[in-house]
């Protein structure tokens, strides 16, 4: 009898698991198509993948209705509520965004049409993201994170002719394996102490255990998440990855795993609701912001510069984690969409300009040649820095308002210092972010002709769309914020 009811529940739950089932079905479909089809069909993979993702988005959008309430799936292994559904939509949009890169490239590089593995990996990363976001169980969390990680290692090495990419992939694998090991070690301790893999057990973790050792275990787990987020102290891998991996892949990796990780950190810090952990996250957040910004200071390579800046943004996301509560989560989501749009935009632009090595020098004078890209890069940079009138300013405003509130409730002077230092970092950020527009507009082209093909109409439209959304979500930030 017992088994019968469980089975019944499981099959009933499958209806709520449809977006993920669509992804799994898509992965299998792509693999089979690859086995049994002619090569001429391979050019359709990006479109097929987008279609699958689109179906998955529609299915998820139905879950985003607040009427659904809080649902437990598969004997409380997964949970589904409005927050997770919204985040899943953000992750899916990010994936579609990166596929657009391939569609937009009119040369259709063979790199992405040899076989379907690339798309299978992309869908698997997304599936991993979904699992992580919905997880209520340490085991599922680990599986989700590993699914993301393993696919990421492979994706970084997509271009096998690029030695930088191969090197980056290997580095990523080694760092990632160590981080996973640390996390798994911590998780096994948690399991041993709680006797349970469910998250629920964590709520009383710090009320029953107060010895520093228990904190250490918890921190091990957090380190695994911080690695995915690329926040200090687990940030050192990211510049090489950015430099080595193709733009399509970085766009995905700069957003999706980070959001999954930040959601985990948010959940865990809420479960623990412990002052010491919160303070630790605050300190790590502000060190991330500072290290990222200072590291980016002297970079001459745009991709490395963006890598360091992404460490800083990871710090800002972490600040959102420490804010906590519904407001904190809304802020994180808002900031995530900001990161999604800015990263999509900037890497799309880099992809269009196609300079050889992404050195800043190679962009000299291109702003006059491609005025639209030039203007878009100014808006993007303003959004990255957090200047009005872009969404970046709203994001920072919400974030720091939350932090101010933390200060008001805790009256902890550390928070105030972090508040001030965080804001002053904007000036540091200006110094390096302005470099790209600076080279685009102020420097004269040294005669080295890089790329003269004009943008296609649809690519122009995509750049305009991103630029406008960044402006619109400043002017009417409430449209977005109130639905998150």
């Amino acid at each position: 009898m017992e088994i019968a009811t469980t089975l019944q529940q499981t099959t009933a739950n499958l209806a709520l698991f449809l977006p993920e089932l669509a992804l799994i079905g898509g992965i299998l479909l792509l693999l089979f198509v690859d086995l049994f089809s002619k090569e001429s069909i391979h050019g359709w993979y990006p479109y097929l993948t987008s279609l699958l993702l689109f179906i998955s988005i529609i299915l998820t959008a139905r879950q985003a209705c607040p009427c659904l309430g809080e649902r437990e799936l598969f004997s409380s292994m997964l949970t589904l509520n409005r927050n997770t559904a919204v985040l899943k939509i953000i992750l899916q949009s990010c994936t579609i965004g990166s596929i657009i890169f391939i569609i937009a490239d009119d040369k259709k590089p063979t790199l992405y049409s040899q076989n379907s593995i690339f798309y299978v990996l992309i869908l698997s990363i997304l599936l991993g993201g979904h699992l992580v976001v919905m997880s209520q169980n340490l085991l599922i969390t680990f599986i989700g994170i590993e699914l993301i990680s393993l696919c990421s290692y492979l994706l970084v090495a997509t271009d096998k002719t690029n030695s930088l990419g191969l090197e980056a992939s290997l580095k990523y694998l080694i760092f990632g394996a160590v981080a996973s090991a640390l996390m798994l070690y911590g998780m096994s301790w948690l399991y041993g102490l709680n006797g349970d893999l469910q998250y629920d057990g964590l709520t009383t973790y710090f009320t029953t255990h107060t010895h520093w050792f228990y904190y250490l275990i918890f921190v091990f787990v957090l380190l695994g998440f911080l690695f995915k987020l690329a926040a200090t102290p687990m940030h050192s891998w990211i510049p090489d990855i950015y430099q080595g991996a193709p733009n399509v892949v970085i766009t995905l990796l700069s957003v999706l795993p980070k959001l999954a990780a930040v959601y985990l950190l948010f959940t865990f810090s809420a479960l623990a609701s412990d002052d010491a952990i919160n303070q630790l996250l605050l300190v790590l957040a502000i060190t991330s912001v500072c290290i990222g910004n200072l590291g980016a200071f002297w970079q001459q390579n745009v991709k490395r510069l963006l890598a360091y800046s992404s460490i800083a943004h990871a710090g800002f996301l972490l600040l959102g984690v420490t804010v906590g509560g519904t407001y904190g989560l809304q802020t994180i989501y808002f900031y995530s969409i900001l990161l999604l749009l800015t990263n999509l935009g900037i890497f799309f632009i880099l992809e269009q300009l196609k300079t050889k090595n992404y050195e800043l020098d190679s962009y000299a004078g291109l702003g006059k040649q491609f005025p639209l890209i030039g203007v878009a890069s100014i808006v993007l940079m303003a959004a990255f820095i957090g200047l009005p009138p872009t969404m970046g300013f709203s994001g920072k405003l919400f974030l720091f308002s939350g932090l101010w509130n933390t200060y008001k409730t805790t009256a902890d002077s550390l928070v105030l210092w972090i508040f001030v230092i965080g804001l002053l970092n904007t000036v540091l950020a200006l110094f390096y972010y302005i470099k790209l527009p600076y080279y685009l507009f102020f420097k004269e082209n040294g005669g080295e002709q890089t790329n003269t093909t004009p943008l296609t109409l649809s690519n122009k439209f995509f750049i305009l769309l991103i630029t406008f959304s960044l402006l619109v979500f400043f002017v009417k930030a409430d449209w977005l914020f109130n639905i998150l």
Partner: protein, 565 residues
């Protein structure tokens, strides 16, 4: 609608320029001229229909004219309450002249941009964006809106200096950007703290269901809400936090226990949070003003900027700093401003004297004028710091007068620079024999700037002087030695202007590179007359009939002085 039109007209221009193809760009200057001309006419109409008699507390919406107030962004923050950002514009005596001045300087700036040929499309788009940001900054009565325009001035300015500027333009533009951004971060810190502390009584009343529309609310209902806030009987999720600058000025709107609440006895490193907030705002606006020792970006930016941008920078952008001090720092943190009056006055005096000494030492004519700006802005600071009716009136008058005179001065520099590409004072001598009209107009500008009676500069400096001298007997904020020391600045001012006149314009005609320059040394063109003569006349008329302008501002300034004291 008047203010919105003023604000949005240049934005329409931006859209127009974006879609018009590049080979029409020779007409862009005409279109820009037409639009800035329309703005100028609109500002004149605004002055004509401005009711000078209307006076009321500077934190009451009813004492503003041409008010536009609609809800813009409304966020539901759950347990933290609601956040409301308004599109709130209006003018009173504190900003009406600044709007007028902006339209004048922008119009002159457009004429002065006539010879911009390098990428004219980009130039006029940026110029139009700057135009919107400047007007917006002066008319915004919502802190968020104000901050938006305040920051948005930076980007166009960065590119205008960085692309169309002189040799060291890249260094100068980045320095300008970093300095002012640093300043605005200080302002942002306070802004976030403020809106967390302040509620909008009207919107809160609506949220609580006391009234249906902001138009129906009465003063007594507002008082009920404010009392309830003080007693803490409103649940926090019904409090509507606001960026409204007027609401921030009213201490009844502060939530008890919030960081900027007057009654809390919290100390942060020996100072009350309100004092810190005032200091942060003060630094933020002092960078813009600029006040010694935060002035170092100004000479660089001025020297490298093209002539029209120098005109706009000196003519209006510096005024934004002073206006911000009056409207934001002194109004919201009036209590804290009293404690720092001495320091503020001292910094003003240092700026006056140090700026003047530096001007005396300059070889570059443009740099000399840049330093003289620092010196003249010192008077503004001294006047504001005294918080006397005369002092603040003098400061406001100085803002207007310096806007006119410095525009004229920078155009004069531009005249010689466009002809020879050299601005060194010692490269020229006896210019009067070849360029008599130019010499005459430059003399007028110099005399107006050094404060000769009969010109507007004299009136403003006299008023500041009276105000800061009286302060010792009225409110004991500024000691008497400060205005006396600042007299040194005026004397040195006369010194550097007269010395420059003597070196450059009089004596025997001589040029450093006669073979290259002689052909170009010609007197003013018609376009230059069109710019210089009206400005010179304005400086003269305002020096004879100060009441033309003072009548607009005195009611509000009296209210301001009463409010702050």
């Amino acid at each position: 609608m008047m203010l919105s039109l003023l604000l949005l007209l240049p934005l329409v221009l931006v859209l127009l320029f974006l879609v018009v193809p590049k080979h029409y760009e020779s007409s862009f200057k005409w279109i820009t001229l037409a639009v800035t001309g329309i703005q100028l006419v609109m500002a004149c109409f605004m002055l004509a229909s401005y009711n000078k008699e209307l006076s009321g507390s500077i934190i009451k919406e009813s004492s503003f004219q041409f008010v536009e107030h609609v809800q813009w962004i409304s966020l539901n923050l759950g347990s933290l309450g609601k956040l409301q950002i308004d599109y709130f514009l209006g003018v009173d005596g504190l900003n009406v002249l600044m709007v007028f001045l902006s339209t004048i300087v922008l119009f002159i700036g457009t004429i002065s941009s006539w010879n911009i040929s390098k990428n004219a499309k980009g130039y006029f788009i940026l110029f139009a964006l700057l135009n919107t940001a400047i007007i917006g900054c002066f008319v915004a009565l919502d802190f968020f809106l104000f901050y938006l325009f305040f920051e948005f001035m930076l980007l166009p300015m960065y590119f205008l200096i960085g692309i169309w500027g002189g040799v060291r333009r890249e260094y100068a533009s980045l320095k300008f950007f970093l300095f002012t951004l640093l300043g605005s971060i200080f302002i942002l810190v306070v802004m976030i703290g403020l809106y967390n502390s302040v509620i909008d009584p009207v919107a809160t009343a609506i949220q609580m269901g006391l009234v249906d529309s902001p138009l129906l609310i009465s003063d007594s209902q507002i008082a009920v809400v404010q009392l309830a806030v003080r007693q803490g009987t409103i649940p926090s999720n019904q409090l509507v936090h606001t960026f409204n600058l007027l609401a921030m000025g009213d201490s009844n709107n502060f939530i008890p226990g919030s960081i900027f609440y007057k009654g809390n006895d919290l100390l942060m490193m020996g100072l009350a949070p309100r004092a810190w907030a005032f200091l942060a705002l003060f630094i933020g606006f002092a960078i813009k003003l600029p006040l010694v020792p935060l002035h170092t970006w100004l000479p660089d930016a001025h020297v490298e900027a093209p002539t029209p941008i120098s005109v706009v920078l000196a003519g209006i952008l510096l005024k934004v700093g002073a206006y911000g001090l009056i409207r934001v720092a002194y109004t919201i943190f009036a209590d804290a401003s009293m404690d720092f009056a001495w320091t503020a006055g001292l910094l003003g005096v240092i700026s006056i004297v140090y700026g003047a000494y530096n001007a005396l030492a300059q070889q570059d004519l443009k740099k000399m004028i840049a330093y003289s700006s620092v010196s003249h802005m010192g008077f503004v600071m001294l006047g504001i710091a005294s918080v006397t009716a005369e002092g603040v009136t003098g400061a406001m008058y100085q803002l207007f007068s310096h806007g006119i005179i410095s525009s004229m001065l920078f155009i004069c520099v531009g005249v010689i620079y466009e002809r020879t590409g050299n601005r060194q004072i010692d490269s020229y001598s006896g210019l009067v024999s070849k360029m008599p009209a130019y010499t005459a107009l430059t003399m007028i500008a110099f005399f107006a700037s050094l404060g000769l009676p009969g010109f507007s500069g004299f009136i403003s400096e006299l008023l500041v002087f009276l105000g800061s001298f009286n302060s010792a007997s009225v409110n004991q904020l500024i000691p008497r030695w400060m205005p006396l020391v600042s007299l040194i600045g005026i004397i040195i001012g006369a010194g550097y202007y007269l010395w420059t006149l003597q070196r450059m314009f009089f004596g025997e005609f001589w040029l450093k590179k006669p073979s290259e320059w002689t052909d170009f040394i010609k007197d003013l063109t018609q376009r230059e007359y069109v710019m210089l003569i009206p400005l010179g006349l304005a400086a003269f008329v305002l020096g004879i009939f100060p009441n033309l302008l003072i009548s607009f501002i005195e009611a509000s300034i009296n209210q301001f002085v009463i409010f702050v004291n």
